[in-house]
Every structure is written in C-alpha cells, then in structure tokens.
Symmetry: C2
Subunit: 643 residues, 2 copies
C-alpha cells in the first residue's frame, strides 16, 4: 500500500506526484476519512464522493493564488487534508483541531467560513470581479453540489456569472441526490444532462448564459485532471458538471443511518438528551393523527427533515401531507403563506439558523399578510455548534416581527397545546420555539417542582384580553387602527399572559422557554439565602404582559429575565425598557388595567441575563453558560446584590 | 368614443362585452391611467404595458375563484379598476382611496398584500398545493415581470412549480427591460425566445421542467384572450411568456424622467427635502473622486439606483466601478463579501426594506467573515410609506448583527467621514444609515445650534478603546477569545464613543441618527422649563458607550433615548438594559473603566422613545410622530414627569 498522504503538507507536495499515483492517494484519503468518521463523525458522504475531484483541483490549480470556494464547505475535509491540515484527520489526538467548515483563520487556502448553502457562486463572482478591476490574475473556482443548486441565492449567482466576461469556473458536483432527495423541476434537467452525457438540448446552465462541460466519471482522478487542466485560465465563465458517487467507499448499511425513535421522553430516560428529535417527533405524531380529517394540513420542510424528528417512516406515512421543498427557505415561507391563504394549514419546520434566509418572507408574505400558519423553530438558543449554525439569534429574529405571535413552550404538553392552537383556532401567523434539552431533562426528572401548584397572577388580575401590545403602552397616544396597522394581536391568545408558577417576593425570576428551568433552579439557590423568589413562565416572546409586570411591582424590587439567546435585540430588554417607562408609581403606567393603585412603589430594577452579541464556534454549552453568567448560582448572586 | 369602463363594477360586467369591444375598453383604461398618473403619480409604466393582459385575464378567468397573484403588485392598477375599484382611478376625489399594491382588505380579488419582488410563484404554488390537497378547483395564476425573474425566490418558485403535477399558470410579462435594465445571463435566453417566437432550444423554463408557450403581441387583447383560454384549466404548470410594451401610450419624453440634482444641500435650499437622493449623490460623488486611484472600489446596487441618488450620469461615468446586479439582494451581499475578500472595496447601496432579503448573507458571508465592505442603508426609519416598504425595522435588523459596525451620521460631513473610514482604514464590515430629511432640514437651516460648541465627555474620559461590547459587560465573566468569537469590534472605530454635544444635568437626551435633531429640539423645550438637558449624539448603534453612560450617572437621573425606528429589538432598549444592570452605584458596573468612584448615585431612569412594533400603511409621518410620542413637546413632558 502506498504512503503518499504522509508526505503532503501542502498543494505543492501533491504536484510532485505523477497522475498515475493519484488513485493510490485517493485510496489512502478515503480510508483515512472512513476511520476518521467512525471515530469522530461528520459529513462523510459528501467528502467521500469528492476525494478525486479535490485532489484534481489542487493538482491542476495553484491555491491560494487560484481561489477555490467550497459551497457550504462541509465537503472540504479532503481540501483540508491537502492544505496542511492532514493530521487533524489522520491523528486521533488531533481530531477536532480543525472545524468542519473552511475557515480563513485556519488556512490561507480557505477564503471564507461558510455553512449555509448556495452562496459560493456569488462569492466567486465577487472575487472574480475584484480580480478583474484590480488587474490581478488567477482562477476563481466555486464547487457546489446539486442539492445546493435549489437554493435561491445560487440562481442569483448563476445569473450574474452569465454576465461575467472573464475567468470563473463553477464545478457542479452532481451525486445524483436528485434521484432520491432533491426536489424541483430542474433536477429532471440534470438527469437529462447525465443521460445524454452533457449533450441534451435542455441545459439550464446554457440557458443562464454559461459555457458548459460534462464529466461522466467524476471519481476518476485522471479524467478530472484533464478536464480541469482544459478549463484552467479560461477567459469566460464555465460550468464543469461532474458526476460523482456520494459516499463512495462507504458500505451501504452505513449510508442508511436514520434518526432514533424517542417519541416519548419517558421511554428514553436512559438515552442521551436529544430534545430536538424528541419534541419534533412528538409534534409530527400529533399532526399525523389529524391528517385523515384535515386534508389541508401540510408539513413543509426545506430540507434536513431527519434532524428535526421528521423521520423517513413518518414522511412515507404522511404522503401528500408532507412536502420537502429542497433547500429553499425563502420559497418555503412564501409557499406556506400561499397554502394558508388558500385555506390550508401549513406547518413549516426548520432550524433557527436557516430561517435567517427567510427573514423577509417571514415579515412580508407571512406576518404582514397575517397568514394563518405555523413556523416550528428548531435549534434555537445558544449551543456548542459551529459559528455558521448558531441559533442564538432566534429570539431577536422572530420576536421583533410585527404581527407574528411567538411562543416558547416549557414542556411537551405545552408544545402540543400550542401547536393545536396555532394550527386551529389561532387563525394567525405563529412561530413556536421547540423545547430544548433543559426542558427535556426537567420532564424526565419528573417535571418542575413548583409547576403543578400553579398560581396565575396574570390570570387573576387580567381579564383575558388586556395583554396589550407592549409598544402600544409606550406613550398612551393613539389607538390601533385595524385597517392600516399590523400589530401583534393578543386577543384570543391563551398564552398572552405570563404564568406565575411560584409566588414569592422581592425577586421575580422570569425564564423564557428553554431558560425556564434555569429560573426554577435560581429560585432554589435563593431559597438557601432566605429569599423566596417569584418564578414566572412567560410562555411567549412577541408581546410583554404588562398586567403581570405591573402586579409584580407591589412586592418586588428586582426583576430578573433569563433567556438562552442574544440579549441585544432579544426579549429581556423589552422588560427593562417597560419598567423604565412606567417608573416609580403604578399610576404612571399607561396600561389599560385600572386595577392598580397609584401608590408609589420602589422602582423595579431589571437584570437581563442572556448571551453576548457574538458568534461562538464550537464552544461547549457549559462554557458558554459560565461566560454569560447563565448559571443559577451566578444569577442568584447578582439578584441578591441588586436587592 | 366608447364608455365601457363606467359600467364595469366587477369582472362579471367585463364578461358581457364582446371580444372586439375589448380594445376600446383598453383605450379607455389607458387614457384614464395617464390622467391618473399625471395627477397622482405611481408605477405607471408597468401598468400601461399590462392593460390588455389584465383585461384578458379577467375576461377568461373567474376571479376570485381563479386566483390571480400579481408579483410585487405595483402593476395591479388595471386589475383594481376591473374589480370594483374603478373610481379610485377615474374620480380625482377618490385618488388615493386604494393603495398602490394588492390588498386583501380592499378586495376579495386581491389574495395578498405584496411589495417585494419575486414571491408570486411560491405563493401560487402554495395556493395550488392547498387546492389539490383539499379537493378544490380553480386556476392559480402568477403574473410576474421579467425584471422580477432575477430575484432568488422566483427561481426557487419556478423549481417547485416544475414539480407540481396540477394546474398552475405563470404569466411572464416580458417588456424587454432586459435590453436596457435587466442584468444576468438568463436575459439572453429571454431575448432568444423573443427572437425565435418561443421556439429557441435554449429555454430556461423548459429546463426547469415547465411547459411553455409564447405570445408575441402581448398588447393585443384578442390574442391574449385566445392564449389564456387555451391554458385555462390546464392540468400541469405552464409559463405563458407574453411580450409587452412597457409604458405603452406614454410619450417618450415622459418615460425618461431621471432624478433631480441636489449634490449640495445648500444649493437646493428652496427644493422639497429629499435627503435620500441628496446624501446618496453626495456619497457617490465622494467615491467617484477616488476611482482613478482605487481600482478595486466598486459600488453595487441591487436595482433601483436612481432613488438612492445613483444617477444615470453618475453610473455612466463610473464605468466598471459600478455594478447593478438586478433585483438580487442575497447575491449582492455575498458578492460584496467576495469582492472584499479578494482585496476590493465594495459599497452596496439599497433600501432598508430590501436589505431584509439579505439578512442571512449579512450575518454569514458579510459579518461573520468580517468582510471589509460598506452597506449603505437608504430609507431607514419610520415614514409614510406603504406597509410593504417600511424602513422602521432597520435599526433592529442591522444593530443586532454580531461583528457588524453600524453608523448613524447626523450630517453630510459626518456621512462622508464615516464613508471614508468604512472604505479605508476600518477594514471591517460596516453599515451606514443614510441621513434623513430631519438632518437635511437642520443642515439647510444652518446646522444644529449646539453642534459647533462640542463638549466630548466620552472622548475625555475614554481612552479610545474602552467602548467595549455592551453585552460583554453584562456579566463580567470570561474574556473575549479572538479565535472563536466574533464580537463587534470597537478598537479603531472613531465613532465608538458618544459625543456630548451639549452639557447639562438631570436629563440626558440621546438621539440616534435621524432622531438627533429631535433630541436637540427637546432640549430647547426643556430650556423653557428651566432644565438644561444634556444632549448626546451616539453616532452608532452597534455597541453602547458605557464610559459615557456611566459618566452621566453623576448628575443625571433621567436618560431619554430617541430613535425613529421600532423600539422593540432596537437601540434604546439596550441602554435601558444597561442601566438596569449597573444599578445604583457605579461600582456595580462591570465595565472596564476604573475612572468612576463607587459613590452611590440615584438610579438612572430610562425612557425609550421610538416606534411601536407594528407595520403602518401610508400613515403620514407627522401622524406617526404623534402616535409614537416622538415630538419634542411630548418627550419633554415625559422626561420632566420622570424627574
């Protein structure tokens, strides 16, 4: 067996090999990847399919003078192995030394840190444009998979590329995922191109004004070397369509890993926590039970259903009640608005980080149009994930959209209640933040200590419709004009009022969604210091419940908000702002409730706990909680100091 | 002359006419539109081109059973005239009774309120899907222009449409804007289809899996009636490509209206205020002066350059230093990141409302990658615009992005200084919020009264690098790890510190950007009440200047923040949160500055002024200011009451 890999510390070492030695190198790399993936995990299939193409790219081109941009960049393992980071994949003690994505901080061969799909062509167009303006040279290469092509921004990039009059090479890695998983009419086009060996008249890329070349055996390194050498230094944009085998070298049984089955948190008491799949499956099962009698109920997933508990079996059983739109968040949200307007009941499930793509459609087609639909937010909140997949911004992203009701359940039961409401009587756009591991852990350990003996101050004081829009109380000027204003409605929302789950005094702890268990734990810390704190479950983050907040002022002086997302622009700041606004006497409040006396009270001091305005990269969750002071002990200390 | 229009109060009246009477009706409508547009303004060109097509659609199809979705919907005037809203275009006393966009609150014939480009196909797919699931019938029709096709979400929609196995009709209104204004390789494809009368082999729509039909004379109503009748009740998706003449009936001189020339605010003292064009042209001129010596300096506009002061003349002179990417915000931002990474200097200019489309790329490709580039935000803040074009969310959208520096200049001079910095020494991603009319008015009236006698408390106390990230001071735990954290850097940012423009006591008025003149005016109100308030220009909204905020606590008890955007998730709430955090004594502050004594001070009460969390529709700005209490008199009253 050859041992070429050990001698490769950069692309120049690779170029010393003869072309007929490259297949052996490919074998070495493939074996190393398999060993690595068994021990460490990762996006192995796409990397295995691209072993030969990556070798050929670095053999023909001169990175970093020639810039290679990996779309999404989770298929850059081989690239990393060939550009000085070999040991991170071959030496178990160094597994984890590099990220799963390209990263300029790691290597000059990585132009960008990328984790969202479809931007490589746009980035490449920009690099090519700058090169041309500034009189530089070098090839600019974007490597993009067929699945990523369904992504909106990829089309915009192709369209721009069609206008460029200089060097740009788009390598389309077509691993025929179009047969099994890709979605959309253009995949018929790709299939025709494969069958015709690139000669089909119907050719999306030529239609976009691009030159085109087809390579049938995208796992034959010599063929690829010739193909890339032919287009090197080309003076116009070209698509090199290479046909590869995803997961090449992987046993078939290894390719069929599906999600685990944790429908019921209790039945999985011994399993590692996976709230995402657990609650996702719970929600999907609740919806599936209604399919027979509700023909318009439709679950929409813009790709990656499995990680959200939407299993293969569930999808098969759901039939026409399920639609995978491919990697198309913008389209998926507008599509959901269309379904809703036509009388259907859409439920759209994806990651917080990917919902960022649909920010405009959430504002316009969904919320402004008051489309009665449900967005299920998975993976919201701080976590130890890569910097490209942070969910820490979900509260600010959703919670500030006018007209959108945002719910944060703190139990599986509440999730199901909220989902039943949002897909039924709500008749408005709703986002539900799926519960996280802290909630699952609390449920498995027997629930929240004080949760069963609920005292509902809000419900007692409020009349069920007083939970007025928080900003509306800012000034007391003007009334809502239903014709020309879209506010976030609270009427008819069973979760508009906060729930006081534990009555106390002096300190009120308000924990939103996944941070609610932290509020409970903080109360226990405070018990040890002789302070019986009030604990509140706010249920939602689209309005603030001024009735409950006003009531707290009678016998509390410190209000603590706890959220597991970015503080700035988030939820707790709204409460700090509210208490500043109402000031020292209840009578200065402009809220609609007359139930409070005008007696001066001590001003309420608000402590907001949450994440910094930053993006973290694979920092473990416990370390983040320490960094942000999101621990019961620290919060209790700060609250006591503020008394 | 015929008088058919007066008898049409809904589509059923239209159907009573004979086909050969329809051209006369078209003439009537065209004349009415011209009269209307002269008196009232509006998107006249696109409506004139679609007179015959809209008549034919309503003649053939049965709205609202058949659903017609107008993309962007600014070309829906004729549709409105034919669906019961005729008088809003023919009776001058009723001009303005209907909006410029479709709106379900106006008519059952309007399925959505739409103002952003390219979503009609996705919405139509959703309506078709719901129809199929629920066993309904009726045609679903999306009408979309060729310009809108460059928009990412339109491609995603086409791709989904290619998978649908039932009725969906996409009417592509091709008015050959591709010749003059459209951008991207696919416009060559459209041109080939026109030249070949739809017979070209290269066909983007067939490549996407769609059936296709071409109609050469898209302004011949009888031809259109036949074409639409042929595809009515079709059992699969089809694109009907109609070739129309934009602005048909409009004199050529009327079609060439270009922006006015207000390079210098002073020279236009008598003109109506148009800060958007004024400051846009000012910025463009400053950049153009550098083109000769900075080959990599590139202005990027995802369409509508004219409204931002990027005039035709300027564009022509800029040559390769200017690029119109078409309606492609996602691509444009990623493209800018590519230009930046390759050493160029991108400046991307568009509306706040359209930047929503690129929310993800701003977070990922731009800020996370720390691309040294500039985003120019036009039209930010509250205004009397349509509900689809609100700029009131720009502060929350940009100000909460980790790693992005957000500047809010309060004069033309400061705008130019900030732009010079962002395109030079900044070497980081920067967004600049273009100054608005209040600032222009203040400049024209001789500047801000107190602005020349600047007292810079922040600059005196701070050391130029202390303006730490606000969230970082939340807990005092942990230090920044430059490797795995992207924070918003303040080092080297000349605007990290707030400027105290007027020294006073008791009340501090902090007015961000366009709200700064309101802070000045509020101070004058307070003078009359014997309170000499401090006035502060914060310059930026990406971090808070804790040095200045701490210093205020010595002799102020009320801090007032004023912003002309949505309060929730915005900028002022961060200051309310900060003062809650630091509490009653300076020593509880975890900030890095040791310059404050630990003497207890009176707690600072914070009043946040800004817009409600709502979307308004053509509510005049003065009415909004009353509604939100954003008037100097009201703010002064509230501030005095809080003392």
């Amino acid at each position: 067996m050859s041992d070429f890999l050990a001698g490769i510390n950069g692309p120049s070492d690779l170029k010393h090999l003869a072309v007929d030695q490259l297949p052996d190198l490919a074998d070495e790399i493939r074996r190393a990847l398999l060993t690595y993936s068994h021990a460490h995990g990762g996006h192995i299939g796409s990397n295995l399919g691209l072993v030969e193409a990556t070798i050929a790219l670095h053999y023909v081109f001169d990175s970093p003078r020639d810039r290679i941009i990996f779309d999404v960049s989770h298929q850059s393992y081989v690239h990393k192995m060939l550009t000085g980071r070999r040991e991170a994949f071959t030496d178990p003690s160094k597994f984890g030394d590099v990220t799963g994505f390209t990263n300029p901080l790691e290597s000059a061969h990585d132009p960008f840190v990328l984790g969202h799909t479809g931007t490589s062509i746009s980035l490449a167009c920009g690099m090519a444009k700058a090169r041309d303006l500034m009189g530089g040279d070098g090839n600019v290469i974007a490597l993009i998979g067929d699945g990523a092509l369904s992504s909106a921004v990829a089309f915009e990039g192709l369209n721009e590329a069609g206008e460029l009059r200089s060097n740009l090479i788009i390598v389309l890695n077509d691993n025929e995922m179009s047969i099994a998983e890709d979605h959309g009419g253009m995949y018929d086009d790709l299939a025709e191109l494969r069958v015709s060996k690139g000669r089909a008249q119907r050719n999306l890329f030529r239609s976009m004004g691009l030159d085109y070349r087809y390579v049938e055996d995208g796992n034959d390194v010599a063929t690829l070397v010739r193909a890339f050498a032919d287009v090197k230094d080309i003076d116009h944009p070209i698509v090199v369509h290479i046909h590869t085998l995803k997961g090449k070298g992987l046993g078939s049984e290894e390719g069929s890993v599906e999600s685990n089955h944790w429908h019921n948190p209790d039945s999985a008491a011994g399993s590692p926590l996976n709230a995402r799949k657990t609650y996702g499956m719970m929600a999907m099962d609740a919806l599936a039970a209604r399919f027979d009698r509700e023909p318009g109920l439709l679950v929409i997933s813009p790709a990656t259903p499995g990680s959200n508990g939407i299993t293969r079996e569930w999808r098969a059983a759901a039939g026409t009640h399920y639609l995978d739109t491919g990697i198309t968040e913008e389209h998926a949200v507008a599509f959901a608005a269309g379904v809703a307007r036509a009388g259907g009941t859409p439920v759209l499930a994806t990651s917080a980080t990917f919902f960022q793509r649909a920010y405009d459609q959430i504002h316009q087609e969904f919320a402004l149009n008051q489309a009665p639909g449900t967005l299920l937010i998975f993976g919201g909140g701080i976590s130890g994930t890569d910097n490209t997949h942070s969910g820490a911004g979900d509260i600010m992203m959703f919670g500030n959209v006018p007209g959108l009701t945002c719910l944060a359940p703190t139990s599986g039961r509440e999730l199901l209640d909220m989902l039943a409401w949002s897909t039924g009587p709500a008749a408005r756009p709703v986002a539900i933040r799926m519960p996280g591991n802290d909630i699952l852990a609390a449920e498995r350990s027997g629930g929240y200590p004080a949760f069963d003996e609920t005292t509902t101050i809000g419900a007692t004081i409020g009349d069920g419709s007083v939970g007025i829009d928080s900003a509306a109380s800012a000034d007391g000027v003007g009334a809502h004009d239903e014709h020309d204003i879209t506010v976030t409605p609270t009427a008819g929302n069973p979760w508009a009022h906060y729930t006081v789950t534990r009555s106390g005094s002096r300190i009120a702890l308000i924990g939103l969604g996944d941070a609610y268990p932290t509020a409970e734990a903080t109360a226990r810390e405070l018990d040890a210091h002789g302070v019986t704190a009030t604990v509140i479950d706010p249920h939602q983050f689209s309005t603030i419940d001024v009735v409950t907040l006003d009531a707290l002022r009678a016998d509390h002086t410190v209000a603590v908000t706890i959220e597991d997302g970015q503080l700035e622009g988030g939820w707790g700041e709204k409460i700090a702002s509210y208490y500043g606004r109402v000031g020292q006497t209840a009578s200065t409040s402009q809220s609609a409730t007359p139930s409070q006396s005008a007696t001066p009270t001590t001003p309420m001091r608000v402590l907001n706990f949450g994440a910094r305005k930053e993006v973290t990269d694979r920092v473990p969750l416990p370390a983040l909680r320490e960094r942000y002071g999101l621990t019961p002990k620290h919060i209790a200390e700060r609250a006591l100091a503020a008394l």
